[in-house]
Each structure stands twice: as C-alpha cells, then as structure tokens.
Symmetry: C2
C-alpha cells in the first residue's frame, strides 16, 4: 500500500533514512573515519546538497547513525528477549543459542557495529564516546536488572553481584565477536559463545 507521503516527488524523511542506512553500511565496512561521503551518496543517489541539508557535518551523520540505527538494532536483538522469562539464565542462554545457531558470515566479517566504533572513536571524539556509552549502559542495566530479579526468584546464585556480572557478560560477548571476526570463522565465534554459555549456566541457583 502506498501512502500519500510516498507519492510525493519529495520525501525528506525517506531521504534522511536512506542516508542513515547507507551511512550505517559504509561505516560498518570502513569505519567512521575512512567512511566516504561520496560512496554513501553513490549508494543512495542522493545529492551532496541534500546530505548537507539533513546533516551539518559528517560527524553529525555518524552520531545520528549511532543513536538512530545502531542503538535500536542492538536493543531489538539483545535487550528485548530479556522480558520474556523470569529466569535470566534461561533468557540469556536462549539468546546465546540463537546467536550460535544464526551466526552468519556477515556478523563475522564486519563484527559488532558498536564495538567497532568504540575501538575507533571513543578516544577521538567525546560525543561519540558518550553516544556509545549510553547504549552500553542500557545494555548492562537491562541485564543486571534481569539477574537481580532472577536472584529474588531464586533462579540465580545470591552471591552474585548483578551489575558486575552483567558488565562482564557484555564484555565477553563483544570479545567473542571480535575474536570470531579476526579468525574469520563462524565456528570460532560459536565455540567462544558456547563457553560464555557455560559460564552463564554456572550462575544458576
């Protein structure tokens, strides 16, 4: 179905989201600093004038990608599944099962968009760092809350400190992706996540 908005010869919102999507891909492939505006424009058939109408600088575009593309994507793939069960061990274990089963060449080739930008940008640009940090903190918090509730429900060992464990789990996930990425091996990625799963299961009450 075509809405009236889509019939217009102009569609600023579409243009904007096209740019965000293309920028996301380009950044994923090349990193932010090496991302080429020309290449992004070539992939969107948007003009440079239009780009600079929507975004003041390349940096603004990058920050928008972090907030409007990477953050929601990560929330959907890693946060949401936590709200399904009262046992976080089961939730997390299932998430890991899913990641192991659905591990694709694409994830292995380019790694985690969040982690990529952290390593590249956090020492160089404070605003970037802050944007990425917001995502990380939400991630850790969601997991910590789930673990704490698991403790109340006697699903999780009570000697565990939820915030600390959650921090570690997020770190381990990023580490697994990073190692799989460099090995260019889906199998190495899966093996690494399996070990994380064993760790997670050792947290059960």
């Amino acid at each position: 179905m075509i809405t009236p908005a889509q019939r217009k010869t102009r569609n600023p919102e579409q243009t904007r989201s096209d740019l965000l999507e293309a920028a996301y891909s380009e950044i994923l492939e090349s990193g932010f600093q090496a991302a080429s505006l020309e290449r992004i424009l070539a992939n969107t058939s948007v003009s440079k004038g239009a780009l600079y109408h929507h975004f003041g600088t390349k940096r603004d575009l990058g920050l928008a990608v972090v907030e409007e593309v990477i953050a929601p994507q990560l929330a959907e793939r890693w946060f949401a599944p936590f709200e399904e069960h009262d046992d976080p061990i089961i939730s997390l274990s299932r998430i890991l099962d899913d990641k192991i089963a659905n591990a694709s060449e694409l994830v292995i080739r380019y790694g985690c968009p969040l982690n990529n930008l952290i390593q590249e940008m956090s020492p160089l640009d404070e605003e970037f760092r802050q944007g990425l940090q917001n995502i990380l903190e939400r991630w850790v918090e969601v997991m910590a809350i789930a673990l704490a509730e698991g403790q109340r429900n006697q699903k999780v060992r009570t000697d565990l400190e939820p915030k600390e464990a959650a921090l570690f789990i997020v770190a381990a996930i990023e580490g697994c992706v990073g190692l799989g990425k460099n090995a260019q091996s889906v199998e190495a990625y899966q093996r690494c996540l399996r070990q994380l799963q064993l760790y997670v299961q050792s947290l059960a009450f």
Copy 2:
C-alpha cells in the same frame, strides 16, 4: 656508554626502530587508516625519503608494527608470566591481579593495540588479519597448554576443554579492555577483570 655505532652520523637501524615506535604511537592514537605519515615523520625528524627507504608502503610499515612492536610487547606482558608456575589458575590470577593493580589511564584511553587493529583492519586487509591472527593464536595456545598441564597436575577441573576455555578467556580480556576504554574508567576496567578472575578461579580442580 656510547658504542661506536651510536657515534655514526647515520644509523639505519635506529632510524628504522624510531619509525616503528612513532608509527606504533600514531596508530594507537588514530588507527591505521587515519594514521598520518607526515605526523609520524614530524615526531621522528626522519625524512620521507628515509621512511620510504626502509618501508615500501604505509601498509608495510603497519605490518611491521604488528610483527615487531605489538607482538613482542603482548608476549612479554601476557605470555611470559605463564612459565613461572605449574598451576595456571595461579598464574592467570596473578596476571589479572597485576593488570588490575597497574591499570593505567593510558591503557584505558587507547585500549589494546591488538584489539584496535582487529576491529579496524581484519575485514579490510587479509595480510593484516593474518598477522593479528598469528598473535591471537599464539596467545590462546600458550594459555591452552598451561591449562592442559594444570589438568595433568590436578590443578584444573578435568571437565574443562583447555582450547575452548583459553579462547574464551582471551575474548573476555579484550572485552574488558574495550569496555573500560569506552567508559574511560579505570574502575570499570578493574571491575570487569575481577569478574574474569572469579571465572578463572571457578576453573580450579
């Protein structure tokens, strides 16, 4: 004491190692792609002609940094300590204690040189990836051998698969550094390593 070699007005080996050192710093701060040869030269008072006498391309310089600076540095800081004890749990725990105690702002600011290059370069340049992979594999192997020997000495749980656990531990270490780096927080880095230490200790026989 000044050796004759140091008195010479020319010292190609010194020039070469100066370049490697400056390139290492520049890459650590900016990443490889954004590393500027001009900046490296400015920090060494070496001429461009000299640089291109020693290294064919920027890429060659980068690969040399991986093999001749990053690899030995990592070996010294993470591999060597394993040969001191027959109990890898103790070895690893002490290494982590050391890292926690000596965690510096510098490590937190720029992260792990190996991990930085992995995230940036491994999808872009196969030779880079291979150079980094060699380091990773040596690291995992040293740790796996230590764990396996620990099993024979009844220091490590026998239900553990040394290679898998070693892979996971390396992943977790890189993850901890990465998270600390983005938080720009020595404390977060330390908390993360503490959790890894707890995991390591849970592997004891």
